[in-house]
Symmetry: C2
Subunit: 406 residues, 2 copies
């Protein structure tokens, strides 16, 4: 084996970046890939008073860009800019880039993959979805021998923790959120998590992977968990189910994709109902494989960093092997199908009377729990028809879909 | 992209082999790898009266070995011989081989991987563990950036189906087995499954992957599920747990591995308790990643065949890239630790009285269900000490360990 020293740069010395540094420092890779990995640069605009990393620190991106010894960089700075510009310039110089930056991959993934391809470099982003869970890589492989028909994932650990506390400990949403913040699972400004935007970007990446076409995250209807209450918990427990924030995508018969991020009712017999705490899980359905589930820690310094390091190692084995890249086509036709056409079962909560509800929806199943409101299940109805019906119902609180991938 | 035609041979036209043929015939791969795949030979000693495959059929292995156009062969014939000899000769000629043959990988894996490495070829075996579930490939990647500390897997669908029927439908072992046979989930001679040998070979492969050293399956203490009765089900349900046939391996502080295949009590809060029917799941614990679980169909024609095809595609991208190979070292020191030293919690069933049991084991917890026998939990005891204690107890029925990976 030709052992060589791979010199890398870490761009952004935050939580993930410092984790990447620690793993590379503490673990010897020579036995497994034949290549030693060394961190030559750490790029950050901040000052760090740490003698160990001082020799590597730079505030000047050009140091990395213009150093011919550096073949691989880890972009773990987050945000769109300057992450996009840095990544683009590195790839144009034929340097490979690995990243945990889901926002960048979801927004500029196609362009950056194309740039990588053109310049014989790699752009890899295992850490951008599911933290440390290997999902991008196995999905790349699965999609080769399978046609993916559906994806359903618990893609955000913060919201899963909050929902879990509501179900397991009877906390209301605000208490559960405060608890998540106290434990460091939720940020001070939790909007990106609790409103579903984080999960939406990850679903866009998975869908683009699955079908090889750009899925724009702005096209995915997204709702968060902020209006889930302990009353919802009581209804859903009566159905032997739980509520999970589900990123969902399914290809329909016309080759378009029903996609959404929303709190859904997950029946107890579905393995996703057992994904607790801050864990994530992604279910993929392939035409030959059936259902696969990947489960693990979806966030956190070292799990995410270890996925970044795995990508660095993979790059080091494939320098110049452009065949290894994923390709997403740009397409003019919208790949996202009209959500109104999707058939699903819904639990509806409202303040109307049974007679009026039955007049609108016909044969439904009531779920009696509280005296001051009415809840019912409407089975196998198109979302468009449901919404039209709800307009004729008084005091609609909300409707939750039931996860049942067929 | 340089598109080229990859010509392959399928050796063995049984269930998996015919699945591999169908997937390659029905799916176009050109868009994803740039390579078209074509089946040039199908090797089988049997005659097939099928016009479609006739042009490819051969009974002569030399046809494949001596055809310079064939770079990749799928060995899906099963058994040790002549699968070993064929694989070895192909690798020596620099042809890559992919396989679903767990027996061959568990027995000759190290030697065949070394032969591949020496001859710039690849030997891949994703389909040998977990059928269609991608576990070998993600494990290869995980192990690079992590030290694996433990593996626990439901590695055999037949036994999982039987245990599931016993728990969910109250069938006794023989009825559940007969049902599995009627449904085609168990073979007429089910010994390899129900006595744990199939799971043992898969655990040996996973352990060799995890720690890079040959784990000989003969060194793994293995017991099957034939003596699990509905009485065990009743006790274990009282503990809010289930029984699963678990392939278990954990590295101890001295760098040795506790490994076993046995029916274990899996607490309801462990996600493995929710793996039902013929599904498989593998849990891997990494020092950075924490717990990962891969879940899916562990057997079946098309799931397994799609894993074989994925390996063929991976080979086609890496022809000549020997760095892609896995290496298992041969080691003189035994890597398997003395099972008697492992600390675990056990449920014991016997026909002795409480007083005598407490005299032997001290502080224990009784699990009262039946009048004509006594069951109790002994917590955190070394297996050697448990066994010594059981010799002093009358009428021991059996002891089941509790899965609790720490």
């Amino acid at each position: 084996m030709n052992e060589k020293m791979i010199k890398t740069a870490i761009m952004g010395f935050g939580t993930v970046g410092s984790g990447v540094y620690e793993i590379i420092r503490d673990k010897s890779f020579a036995g497994e890939t034949g290549d030693e990995i060394e961190v030559k640069y750490i790029l950050d605009i901040r000052d760090f008073d740490d003698d160990e990393i001082k020799p590597m620190l730079t505030k000047n991106f050009e140091d990395i860009l213009n150093d011919d010894e550096v073949n691989i960089a880890a972009e773990v700075m987050g945000g769109l800019h300057p992450a996009y510009e840095f990544t683009k310039q590195l790839l144009e110089k034929g340097k490979s880039v690995v990243t945990s930056n889901k926002e960048l991959v979801a927004t500029y993934g196609r362009e950056l993959l194309e740039t990588a391809q053109k310049n014989n470099a790699l752009y890899m982003f295992e850490a951008s979805v599911g933290g440390g869970i290997p999902v991008i890589r196995p999905m790349t492989v699965c999609t080769k021998a399978n046609n993916i028909t559906a994806i359903a994932g618990i893609l955000n650990g913060t919201t899963n923790y909050i929902l879990n506390e509501m179900f397991k400990k009877g906390k209301d949403f605000n208490d559960a959120l405060a608890d998540a913040q106290a434990k460091g699972y939720a940020e001070k400004n939790p909007a990106a998590d609790i409103e579903g935007h984080d999960a939406c970007r990850k679903l866009a990446i998975l869908s683009s992977m699955a079908w090889g076409k750009v899925v724009n995250y702005n096209d995915i209807p997204t709702s968060g968990i902020t209006d889930i209450s302990l009353r919802d918990v009581a209804y859903v427990e009566k159905l032997s189910s739980v509520i999970k924030l589900i990123g969902y995508a399914m290809m329909n018969d016309e080759g378009k994709v029903y996609a959404s991020v929303s709190p859904m009712i997950v029946p107890g017999e579905n393995i996703l109902s057992d994904v607790n705490g801050v864990f994530n899980a992604v279910m993929i359905r392939g035409n030959y494989l059936g259902d696969l589930v990947f489960y693990g820690k979806g966030a956190g310094k070292l799990p995410t960093a270890s996925a970044v390091v795995a990508d660095i190692l993979d790059c080091s084995r494939h320098i110049g092997a452009k065949k290894h890249n994923i390709i997403w086509e740009e397409t003019d036709e919208k790949i996202i199908a009209d959500a109104n056409e999707q058939t699903m079962t819904f639990l509806v909560r409202c303040r109307d009377n049974a007679q009026n509800i039955e007049k609108v929806f016909g044969d439904i199943e009531f779920v009696p729990v509280y005296d001051d409101e009415t809840a019912f299940l409407v089975k196998d109805i198109k979302r468009g028809r449901l919404n039209a019906g709800l307009e004729k119902i008084n005091g609609v609180i909300h409707a939750l879909g039931v996860l049942d991938i067929r």
